[in-house]
Symmetry: C2
Subunit: 349 residues, 2 copies
């Protein structure tokens, strides 16, 4: 019995995630380790795993947590990080990425996860899953730690495309609001448009035009448009959805990830500095571990592709097992009915 048949038979409490095991800078080993970790959060999860079966089969077999829940699909080829998306679209039929997306297209899996080349993953997703009605340009959304009541704000686009005109930004607002409504359970999500200041005369031409368009859409699309927001608002309780172009969104997430990692190092150094501070760290160990989890950028790993007929989650290329598990966790939660259940406290390092 195939996994998709099991899904049909057993009802909705099985989640089937399609995994491109070959993408990612750390190779398939990190992906398998992440898959095993995600099982702890979602004991009923099943995987359709795409990649080099000679490599993968014995390694899946060896992992107790994976052995009985994986269906392996062999692919001869891999999309390289340096591959050009348009060439993958033409010649990528035999890659693990193509096959991973097709499992969602065929209804075998509820969502696909890949650590591979973002541009190629988006191009193949558009080709195989097709854009949702009304979407010209899909976007990648990510979660950002926030003081708002859900604990996360949504930023998009973070790299589906390199630029966006006013119509794209308008569409991102609609996609982001819908994601916040379905994924975060916010009935009237607050949407803000990223700009360099709150004044309406500031900003690029396309941003000022988008400001008007989004404002017109708000009522019909059931969101609350709060107008221009600045980068500093993204952690504040100023909006739930932050709209910008893919170049800027990408620079924002990557620079914050880098800086959070640096702060983490500073924290370790601070506690190794003196004998007293090392004793202090011992007393505070549990609290420090909780903090380390909270600021660990790997735990918010996973960009969701919006505007497609199917769910695809892009994991960071350099994700380790913790990062991959977070991306799979996100895909699994998006596959459940209702708002995203919060699994943040259940992750382990």
């Amino acid at each position: 019995m195939s996994i998709s048949q099991q899904l049909d038979g057993d009802g909705a409490d099985h989640i089937v995630i399609s995994i491109d095991a070959m993408g990612g800078d750390r190779g398939p080993g990190a992906v398998l380790a992440g898959m095993a970790k995600a099982v702890k959060l979602h004991p009923k999860i099943k995987y359709v795993v795409h990649g080099d079966s000679t490599y993968l089969a014995p390694r899946i077999h060896k992992r107790r947590r994976l052995n009985d829940r994986c269906e392996l699909r062999h692919s001869d080829e891999v999309v390289e990080m340096s591959s050009i998306p348009s060439s993958v679209v033409r010649n990528g039929q035999r890659t693990s990425m193509w096959s991973a997306i097709d499992a969602v297209r065929n209804g075998e899996a509820q969502a696909a996860v890949s650590c591979g080349n973002t541009g190629a993953l988006m191009a193949l997703s558009m080709l195989r899953l097709r854009r949702a009605e009304g979407t010209k340009r899909p976007a990648i959304a990510c979660h950002w730690p926030s003081r708002n009541r859900t604990g996360f704000s949504i930023l998009l686009d973070v790299g589906a495309d390199i630029k966006a005109d006013e119509q794209d930004l308008r569409n991102f607002a609609v996609l982001g609001a819908e994601y916040a409504r379905v994924g975060m359970g916010l009935e009237m999500p607050r949407v803000g448009l990223l700009n360099i200041g709150k004044e309406t005369f500031k900003g690029r031409k396309e941003i000022r035009a988008a400001n008007d368009l989004i404002s017109e859409d708000a009522v019909e699309q059931r969101f609350n448009y709060v107008g221009y927001v600045e980068g500093s608002d993204i952690t504040a309780d100023a909006a739930d959805v932050f709209v910008t172009d893919g170049y800027t969104g990408n620079a924002m997430i990557k620079s914050v990830e880098g800086t959070a990692a640096l702060i983490g190092e500073f924290l370790k150094e601070a506690f190794n500095y003196t004998f007293l501070s090392r004793i202090g760290a011992l007393f505070a160990l549990t609290s420090l571990r909780r903090l380390a989890k909270r600021i660990d950028p790997r735990r918010v790993n996973g960009g969701v592709f919006l505007g497609l007929n199917g769910t695809v989650v892009k994991s960071h290329g350099s994700a380790d097992a913790v990062g991959v598990a977070a991306a799979i966790d996100l895909a699994a939660r998006l596959s459940m009915p209702g708002p995203l259940p919060n699994t943040a406290d259940q992750h382990d390092a």
Copy 2:
């Protein structure tokens, strides 16, 4: 004897900073408090202070550290945060900002500091100080904590303008490299161009064009061009100067400032969580304070205007005394001959 005469008489060990006391969201009180704080770092500093003398005179008089080192220049008007730059250029002659910049133009002060409206400050600086030869579009540069050997990387533009074409980006590379050479003492600074990936086929048209232009300039302009860099490289030891447009750079610094502040709150919460962790925090108090300083975004406050005939430092509009002191400290260090002396460990909270 005026402060500028004192400067001429006593030689270069006096630093005179021109202060726009009226800009900023927290009002002139925060600016005066910051000025007093900066005196601890630079005991020989003098100020030319611009603003409402009725308000300022008694308050300067009351502060022992300011009383004997300030020359007050009355201005009737203030540039509001909501003022449109072009209108300030036409009608701003009586504002404290105009007067503060003119003190640099007249040679009375080595640098000007303002917490006011960024667009107006840049427009007035261009009008009164003029662009340096070869600069079409000035930029604002800021310091970013980094693992490189100076401890900081330089990011520009962070908001002088809202967009940049390939020629602007090329010019930013030259300005940033020069700043790194003069300000940070790096003989051959490494310059990177921000993009969404390291592959040369990725990115907007103007970024790909800038990649070629900057590459051609590198030898003559004495910098080492490392090519495309990503947001995550800014804290890594990947480059010393990061070039992007003002919209993106602005979003980057503001989102990281917001996130660093949130992490700081998490840190406090973590140590208040249990009785044991509170004891731990007591033991680790000195180390924790050192960490809090290191990740406090107020301490890297201050954007330097590059490409002008004169030094102007823009402080964050919402800067408190600590933030204003950091901006004045930066202006003072830029006014000294040779590479920037490091005062990071001398700041107090």
